[in-house]
Symmetry: C4
Subunit: 226 residues, 4 copies
Amino acid sequence: MARTLKFPGNLAFSTLRNRRALATSLARLGREMHTRRWALGTSGNYSAVLNREPLRLLITSSGLDKSALTESGFLEIDAQGNVLAGRGRPSAEAAVHFSVARQRPSTGYVLHTHSVWNTLLSEQFAMQSGFAISGYEMLKGLEGVRTHEHREWIPIFANDQDIPALAQKVELVLEREPAVHGFLIAGHGLYTWGEDLAQARRHVEIFEFLFEVVGRREFGSIPPGR
Amino acid sequence: MARTLKFPGNLAFSTLRNRRALATSLARLGREMHTRRWALGTSGNYSAVLNREPLRLLITSSGLDKSALTESGFLEIDAQGNVLAGRGRPSAEAAVHFSVARQRPSTGYVLHTHSVWNTLLSEQFAMQSGFAISGYEMLKGLEGVRTHEHREWIPIFANDQDIPALAQKVELVLEREPAVHGFLIAGHGLYTWGEDLAQARRHVEIFEFLFEVVGRREFGSIPPGR
Amino acid sequence: MARTLKFPGNLAFSTLRNRRALATSLARLGREMHTRRWALGTSGNYSAVLNREPLRLLITSSGLDKSALTESGFLEIDAQGNVLAGRGRPSAEAAVHFSVARQRPSTGYVLHTHSVWNTLLSEQFAMQSGFAISGYEMLKGLEGVRTHEHREWIPIFANDQDIPALAQKVELVLEREPAVHGFLIAGHGLYTWGEDLAQARRHVEIFEFLFEVVGRREFGSIPPGR
Amino acid sequence: MARTLKFPGNLAFSTLRNRRALATSLARLGREMHTRRWALGTSGNYSAVLNREPLRLLITSSGLDKSALTESGFLEIDAQGNVLAGRGRPSAEAAVHFSVARQRPSTGYVLHTHSVWNTLLSEQFAMQSGFAISGYEMLKGLEGVRTHEHREWIPIFANDQDIPALAQKVELVLEREPAVHGFLIAGHGLYTWGEDLAQARRHVEIFEFLFEVVGRREFGSIPPGR
């Protein structure tokens, strides 16, 4: 898999050739996420930061079957949602991708997946607006985490069809919580990100592993606190 | 996968060549459903609408091992169950496929799968004749659904070896519930459909995802209503 | 997969060429069972009836890693356990395969698998010496079953390193219960069989599906009888 | 898969060519463990004993994404952690691999994996410093075990970022418990080993199977002791 594509920083990057290579990598990742059951049907959105100033993203167009995602399923858009290149409409959730890109300046890629376990936990802890995971070695797969004693807080946002409102809440929380590596939208799935595609993809794996562990404890018959 | 085959409307379509292409696509889908554990053994039936007036279906013949389904495993039949082309007997459940095709005039494909989770839920809620799913973003993968607040009602029918009687009940409920995208037969599995094969296949994915989410809640130790 | 190999009845069959073809088919099936997590490590045994009078089996030799099973991993043995062709020792459980072959005269293949769910159920119901499954359409995948109302009794035997004693118990129960399509050994796995390899393989699929359904009910929090 | 590579005993083995073959085999195994969800992200470490006197290991370098492991992801190191060949830093857990290699003189390969079920059990039984598994036929897949009545004790160590301290505890327990085939680190995963790569890999399979069986019992609603 294409894991070596690095985020280009603030180079002028959106040449046709580079955009195509990015779209090919993201499409491959999208099909992989589908195969692994982390983004079935039309769920899942994937973006790459093409330019920093002003911010421009390459992002999946809306409503595509993610099992058949190809490079033509991506658009270049600006922060106002204007389509600069490609055909189709941007995903409704594009605004959330911009929120992440703005609040995490080193981010090159934003991935939104939608697994059974992340859906279950997003509901289970929605009332507390999030939950913490601690004590697992796997946490060290999150960028910058050096010990299993790390406490990772996973914010949860209520799902909202008013995406600009949702995007604003996301931006506020990411600003307030600089250590956060990902968040959930209730009943809707995970957002995580990375400097390069390999890191972003690894963050999906780490979170999905941890969610399954926490989920099996929560949804099994173990009394809490045992 | 062949996702681009469109339902031909009421064109005279059942030329040998087109029928073969449809059978090839449906056979591939059938093997995929087997691989994904949604139609093991001889379970699962798949049909395409070949003609509207009078209604004629291309449908799997009875008793085939779905891991080895090929284009020769399909028959052309009319609503009286006469075999117009192909060798073998039509599936006993062909009448249920005709019920769907009649009640959903835009339907091009009907898929019947049989997963662990759909079997478990079909039993769990059989007494209430169905159950509703609401609040999940994944619902937007069902054709025409625009918000996660959508409430999808999934009717459940008692299993019955008297298929004509079962088919009649299905037809009545689909007439009464125009918004329904699929239904369960208790201990027997899911029926869903789509205008083209990609949409029908996507509906299977969406339902199976939602069934696993609901199933893990129901069969875990979460008190209902939490 | 080789699904068309038919049991040769009482033809003189054990020519080198045919034996090799059978071994190749069984090896492929064995690797498939491994991939599907139904026979990890050295677990799993597979046999074909080479001759009826006197009974001779082609059977996996003992202790092989089933992920790497090839045609050279099979032996021809007689009912006394003598190796007539091939290198290695026969599986300790060969005597159980002979019990099945004797009590089910139309059997061409005997498959022994070892999944998580069959292991769990084999323990769960060991005290009752078995359990019944009824009401599932999937039961119709078992040869000769015509309705989901069929009640399939699955006998469970205590595990025993004294294989001849175990084999004798198996033979008595199979004689007494002519409708049985498979049985469990507690903590040890499933035995099922078929006239041809496709039927035997299908029986594994059907049982494993049903075991997962029953297991998820039993090991979830559903009160029995709900 | 490369299952035939034998541990070279105390031959002078670390020629460039042989080291490369070993690294290729271990990389393939590492990717397989990733695919099977037993070592996602950067988790998992794999080593081969290159020389006995003095002890030298070929081991994964730190921080690699295990889905993309190749032969260049391995280093030759001595017991003091000096890198003798290859580029990168050795895994922090290298000291634990040396503990195993010292206490089990016939060991050729040490594998450290990190599955959902081994993580759950490593927490569940951490307070008792381990747990026993008995009564399962699958236990006979562990080298030298001849009966399902075997009682396999699986020690659990508290996780510790002070790896030398952890390695010392491991060494003491392995010395005291000569029959142990593997152990867990709480929240961190499994260590197991084998004379050759096939045996070590088989031990992972056997343990993961048994952990899933025990885990589903523990995390389901079965009252203990039923």
